[in-house]
């Protein structure tokens, strides 16, 4: 009995010591962070693999040259196109332990952060780094909320591109040039189907269908009326109804297994010859390069039919969180992100184009060169599927409505759901 109580007593003492040890460790950590605050810059992204990581590494190499006083700390959280990272970020922002900077889609997706007072206005940084001259006017307008700008974009991607298989098109007797309008495209799709391809349009899970729907809306309504839709415009108008009907017809030419696919699977249908067209953003170009495909022999691309001259943009950008532990370090990071060198190193590896208009196209592969030409002169249109048109809540509601339409096909129901989504966001 005595021995047992001795052993029990020792065990309790051991537990107590372990608890104390834990506390000391925590204190050291917090002490350490504030002590080294002038040195570290924690960059929070979801770029953990592939071309995206290569791009981040490019930015880091420029950062190490331009900001030698600061040390880059990689806070990346992998997985799910940011859905894991966004949850971690949300809890950190709530507990007031923000990273030094984090990645966010530029444009209206920042609304949630701005409303919650979680990110700082960086307009003065734009003046300091001369970004107001380097970025195009349309982009600056889209980034400005109540006369303030909240993020520095690192790249620009284009969402409204159709990628096609020239062999399949030639086999069906269809021209490999872009159809002039959505109606012309529908006619071409019918021709390709008649040549034996059951599902000539390859599409994937609901967010990719939202992209297709947006491209049809841009083509039918024009870029200005389309952008209005996200700013108090009327989703219940008859123009929208007829556009949605055409979208429904397009979906009739799409593969029946779309719900279980992701965009690379849809792209594989095209490159494998089972489909003729797919609509996806220009991150596809990096994928096709990796597979050794070359335009125009292995693939052709053009702006989605009816949207020539419209650049549906999305941008990855970095922000300055309120209460960031090392604001000077963050500002240096933002300077690198907005600089010509930083954008070049980032974009050449990632497959996108710089937001700056003074970049040298010769540094970039062929797709990016044509994209940069378009960026300098096209009308801009935002993308809901990728965060430049509205906050995440709106995108989620629209994806759900589009997913329901994919199995139901009821245009009236889709339109009602889109109206409801707009009302719940604007109201």
């Amino acid at each position: 009995m005595r021995r047992t109580s001795w052993i029990a007593g020792l065990a309790v003492a051991g537990l107590a010591l372990a608890a104390c040890g834990g506390d000391d460790g925590d204190e050291e950590e917090t002490g350490g962070t504030t002590g080294e605050a002038s040195g570290e810059v924690e960059v929070f992204t979801w770029w953990a693999a592939g071309g995206e990581k290569a791009g981040l590494d490019g930015l880091v190499s420029v950062f190490e040259q331009e900001c030698p006083d600061f040390e880059f700390v990689n806070g990346a959280v992998a997985g799910g196109a940011g859905s894991n990272a966004k949850q971690v970020l949300a809890s950190r922002l709530q507990t007031n332990e923000p990273p030094d900077t984090f990645q966010a889609h530029a444009g209206a997706e920042l609304t949630d952060y701005i409303d919650a007072g979680q990110i700082e206005d960086v307009s003065d940084l734009y003046d300091e780094f001369g970004l107001n001259e380097a970025f195009p006017e349309g982009l600056l307008e889209s980034l400005t909320v109540d006369d303030a700008i909240y993020s520095v974009p690192a790249n620009i991607h284009r969402a409204n591109i159709v990628w096609a298989n020239p062999a399949v098109l030639e086999g069906a007797g269809v021209s490999t040039d872009a159809p002039a309008s959505v109606d012309a495209w529908l006619a071409d799709l019918e021709t390709v189907r008649a040549s034996g391809i059951e599902a000539p349009l390859a599409i994937a899970a609901p967010w990719t269908q939202t992209m297709l729907m947006e491209a049809v809306l841009i083509a039918e309504l024009g870029p200005d009326a389309y952008a209005e839709l996200y700013d108090g415009g009327d989703w219940s108008s008859s123009d929208v109804t007829s556009a949605l009907e055409k979208y429904g017809q397009l979906l009739g030419y799409a593969n029946a297994d779309r719900e279980s696919l992701d965009w690379p699977d849809a792209l594989n249908y095209v490159t494998g010859g089972q489909a003729a067209y797919t609509l996806m953003g220009d991150w596809v170009a990096a994928n096709l390069d990796l597979e050794g495909m070359v335009a125009p022999d292995d693939y052709v691309y053009w702006p989605a039919p009816g949207t020539d001259g419209v650049y549906q943009w999305l941008a990855d950008s970095f922000v300055l969180p309120v209460g960031a532990p090392n604001p000077e370090g963050t500002k240096c990071w933002l300077k690198v992100v907005g600089s010509a060198d930083g954008q070049r190193e980032f974009n050449v590896a990632k497959g996108s184009i710089p937001a700056r208009t003074d970049a040298d196209p010769a540094d970039y592969p062929p797709y990016q060169q044509s994209a940069m030409e378009d960026w300098a002169q096209d009308t801009l249109a935002p993308s809901l599927a990728h965060g430049s048109a509205g906050p995440v809540g709106w995108g989620d509601a629209v994806n759900s409505a589009v997913g329901q339409f994919s199995s139901g096909g009821d245009v009236g129901q889709l339109q009602d759901a889109l109206v409801a989504a707009a009302e719940s966001q604007m109201g």
Partner: protein, 295 residues
């Protein structure tokens, strides 16, 4: 008085930490979630005022939520019927006393050890909904065997898709139900069977009138366990289909809502899910407690 405290005092002291932990982390957080669901906190900003049951009212007039409830109902019914059918079947077969019973038991029970996420990724491929030329997974197998008529869109079917989603879950948990029923069978005294046989009962009558009635408590607990597992199912659905309208259930809808920082709505969905599970579990617990007291 002091004597009575001495009787239950040490026992209370021993479970006190557990009581505190459960009080804080389960009931305290449930309370805070209910509190959150009664506010108007639809963004990351702090809540401004209490809006009573407005969030619940909105939920029940939301087509998307009603659709997710319907999906949950289909999933639960198919899951329960499937696991109990297979669990009972295997328990019956093994109970006869076959050679290598331990081996078969392990094989049937093993899928339960696999993570839902890991098996979900494989089932995603197996349940690929492409048919005909592009078919993969089970559809391709049916095609190869000449069973083309069996090809179907699996979980992407708008009305009955969730029945296909229940397949991986049935595969994983039938073994557990089999174990429950086996234990139930073994718990029936041999004298009962002998007595029935001596009275001239056939095998069928033996099972129908003697053994199965004895199994009803086991069947009930199997029903409750499987039922509440299906209500909570999240990782399997995310692994097989991702978050999509066609396979949305309340738990996935709650996750999506949280991603959009609509905290009050997510809390309301959580409480509705809690109430549904409670409706399933509480009567069982009450009945169990009564049975215990009766003994």
């Amino acid at each position: 008085m002091r004597h009575r405290i001495k009787t239950w005092g040490p026992g209370l002291l021993l479970v006190a930490p557990s009581i505190v932990a459960i009080g804080v982390f389960v009931y305290g957080l449930i309370g805070s979630t209910i509190n959150l669901s009664l506010t108007d906190r639809h963004s990351a900003r702090p809540a401004e005022n209490y809006v009573g049951t407005e969030n619940y009212g909105n939920l029940f007039s939301d087509d998307r939520f009603l659709h997710s409830l319907r999906n949950l109902a289909v999933l639960t019914v198919v899951f329960i019927v499937g696991t109990i059918f297979f669990g009972l079947l295997w328990a019956l077969l093994l109970e006869k006393g076959v050679k290598g019973e331990g081996f078969f038991r392990s094989i049937y029970l093993f899928p339960m050890a696999v993570s839902f996420v890991a098996s979900g990724v494989v089932w995603r491929w197996l349940l690929n909904s492409a048919e005909g030329q592009n078919a993969g997974g089970l559809n391709a197998l049916f095609g190869m065997l000449g069973l083309d008529f069996l090809q179907n869109p699996w979980w992407s079917h708008p009305t009955w898709g969730m029945a296909a989603m229940a397949l991986p879950a049935i595969w994983q948990l039938s073994g557990y139900i089999m174990a429950l029923f086996l234990a139930g069978f073994r718990g029936i005294p041999a004298e009962l069977r002998e007595a029935a046989r001596m009275d001239g009962a056939t095998e069928f009558q033996l099972y129908r009138h003697v053994i199965f009635p004895q199994l009803s408590p086991v069947a009930l607990s199997a029903l409750i366990i499987v039922g509440h597992m299906s209500m909570k199912m999240f990782d399997l659905i995310m692994a097989v289909s991702g978050a999509q309208f066609v396979t949305e259930v309340p738990s996935v809808y709650m996750w999506q809502t949280l991603l959009t920082s609509d905290y009050a709505k997510a809390a309301a969905i959580a409480i509705v899910l809690l109430v549904i599970v409670a409706l399933l579990v509480i009567p069982y617990l009450v009945q169990n407690a009564r049975a215990e007291r009766g003994r």
